[in-house]
């Protein structure tokens, strides 16, 4: 045995070290680019080393597949920032697909000599990989609005879903007892794919940050399991890192909604509250024009913007930047309060605002924002709803009771840009809109902010 034989292992160990550094450097925007570079170097080293593996006998398909992967990956890396949530869901689907296909291939390669232990690992890996694949595709479809974003529910749904998962597990147990039944294996794959579909179809748009994080963690753990199957440590480590990341994000998202994993996955939000929303329509609200809004904003010292998914839908982030510039020029302090679940994935609002060149030191987290609101002259809510609903703190009967919210009602004046009075994704009426200090600015977020900016820049001097 020569030391050269272990060279690939040394390279993989270097790659793992670079991966950990990569995540370490991502902790702050100042070092984040270095982090990406470390990850790229690690990945490139690992791929190039693998191409020299003596087990390889043909390269044609590898080259074609690498070229194909690059041809798919480059455009997916260049999508606009508003499309990042669906791109992320697609990349979860690809990751799960790759891991599941490798597991399936290993099963066929090892037949008929698979012991019970190997079969357990392979079955588990293929089940999780397959369900993450279809689940992520459905999530991407919902985010791209090819599929309806509202929760799709029917009676007895959870029993059906769990029975399907149970069937996949029973088939896996049959395989562990007798691995040679390829038909059982294929049926297990198909049923797992079907379960992924059933799992994500009922989940509504507002729960996407949690679901996308959970799928992230499934995909990571699938890769780690694949590392166990193939006895490849670099996969175990990368999978554990990815899985841990998805898991942490899921916990953060669940806490930010005051809900449990089970509640998100099986609780289909937004079904019960339609009656409450209907009876509220008669109550009156105060409205204002862009001129009125601009006049109030001009007199303010401190303005807090609360962006939500509606800002992303209206593509209003660049107009919001102009708004920020116009007020900052007048010496008015402007900050942005970011709720952890604002948008469709963790950190979504930060990326959109950073793209529009809003400095990141002006983006503040929920806890910090809530200590600021009593000093805020105007809180401007743009396309956010449930995360500002005071009922979460005051109304024990509300379905969102206990959810941490941005306490915008503590600001001196609240302005809400909204298309109409329709309730948010949770389907709950927002008490905020009926307060005396609240002005409703009805219209498209981009258009309305643009009009305010015109008033501020044109009318002021």
């Amino acid at each position: 045995m020569s030391t050269a034989q272990y060279l690939p292992d040394f390279v993989y160990i270097a790659a793992i070290a670079l991966f950990v550094l990569s995540l370490r450097w991502l902790s702050s925007p100042a070092t984040a680019r270095r982090g990406v570079l470390a990850g790229e170097i690690g990945a490139a080293l690992a791929v190039v080393t693998t191409l020299f593996n003596p087990e390889l006998v043909q390269y044609k398909w590898i080259i074609i597949a690498l070229a194909g992967g690059a041809a798919i990956g480059i455009p997916l890396g260049m999508v606009p920032m508003t499309a990042v949530p669906q791109r992320t869901a697609m990349s979860h689907a690809f990751g799960a697909l790759a891991a599941a296909l490798i597991g399936i291939s290993e099963y066929y390669m090892r037949l008929p000599n698979i012991n019970k232990f190997e079969m357990t690992e392979i079955a588990l890996e293929v089940i999780i990989g397959s369900l993450s694949f279809t689940g992520s595709l459905i999530a991407a479809g919902k985010l791209q609005e090819i599929l309806p974003q509202r929760p799709i529910v029917y009676k007895g749904q959870n029993y059906v879903s769990l029975s399907v998962l149970g069937a996949a597990i029973i088939l896996a147990l049959m395989l562990i007892l007798n691995p040679v039944h390829t038909a059982v294996f294929l049926l297990m794959v198909v049923i797992s794919l079907f379960f992924g579909f059933l799992l994500v179809m009922p989940i509504g748009g507002a729960d996407m940050p949690t679901v996308i994080s959970l799928l992230n963690s499934y995909v990571g753990f699938t890769a780690a399991l694949l590392g166990f199957v193939l006895n490849t440590k670099v996969l175990v480590v990368a999978g554990a890192l990815d899985g841990a990341s998805g898991f942490i994000l899921s916990v953060i998202m669940c806490r930010a909604m005051n809900r449990s994993f089970t509640n998100v996955m099986f609780g289909a939000f937004g079904q019960l509250q339609t009656s409450a929303a209907a009876q509220a329509e008669e109550r009156s609200v105060r409205t204002a024009t862009p001129e009125d809004a601009a006049a109030i904003l001009e007199a303010a010292n401190y303005v807090m913007v609360v962006p939500g998914y509606g800002m992303a839908v209206a593509q209003a982030q660049h107009k919001v930047r102009e708004f920020y510039d116009a007020l900052t020029k007048r010496g008015i302090d402007v900050k942005f309060a970011i709720h952890p679940v604002a948008g469709r994935m963790p950190g979504h609002m930060n990326v959109l605002l950073a793209e529009a060149d809003v400095p990141y030191d002006k983006l503040i987290e929920m806890e910090d924002a809530n200590t600021e609101f009593p000093q805020v002259d105007v809180a401007l809510v743009i396309g956010a709803n449930d995360v500002t609903n005071p009922a979460a703190r005051t109304d024990k009967g509300s379905p969102i009771y206990g959810m941490p919210i941005l306490e915008v009602e503590k600001a001196r004046t609240v302005m809400v840009i909204k298309r109409g009075m329709s309730p948010g994704f949770a389907g709950i009426d927002n008490q905020l809109y009926y307060l005396d200090k609240t002005l409703m600015l009805f219209g498209d977020a981009k258009g309305f902010v643009g009009n305010i900016v015109r008033e501020l820049t044109g009318g002021g001097h």
Partner: protein, 100 residues
């Protein structure tokens, strides 16, 4: 139970703890790039896919391997690309805006 499993379990548990400690320090500002980056790192499954696509084996396993190579490599390329695009956008106030 094979001994390799136990070694892998050690590696998995330790890597999980390292991941937990490192990732919980990531600023919520960067949670979207974090997810994109971990996707790109996770795409390291491409090394396993390359072996399966290119080793002596059946046409079936080579085909499955090649599809896995394409799927994983697209994540690797796209993931690093979009993460870099995102982290480049984060700027402090007072800095000159640069057109990139």
């Amino acid at each position: 139970m094979p001994t390799g499993f136990i070694t892998n379990l050690y590696v998995f548990v330790l890597a999980g703890f390292v991941g937990f400690e490192v990732i919980r320090r990531v600023s919520p500002l960067l949670h979207t790039p974090l997810m994109a980056l971990t996707n790109a790192l996770d795409a390291i499954v491409v090394v396993a896919a390359i072996i399966i696509a290119g080793r002596q084996g059946t046409a079936l396993s080579a085909t499955l391997g090649a599809i896995a190579v394409a799927a994983a490599f697209s994540n690797m390329v796209g993931g690093f690309l979009i993460t870099d695009r995102m982290v480049r956008m984060f700027k402090l106030s007072g800095r000159e805006r640069k057109q990139s």
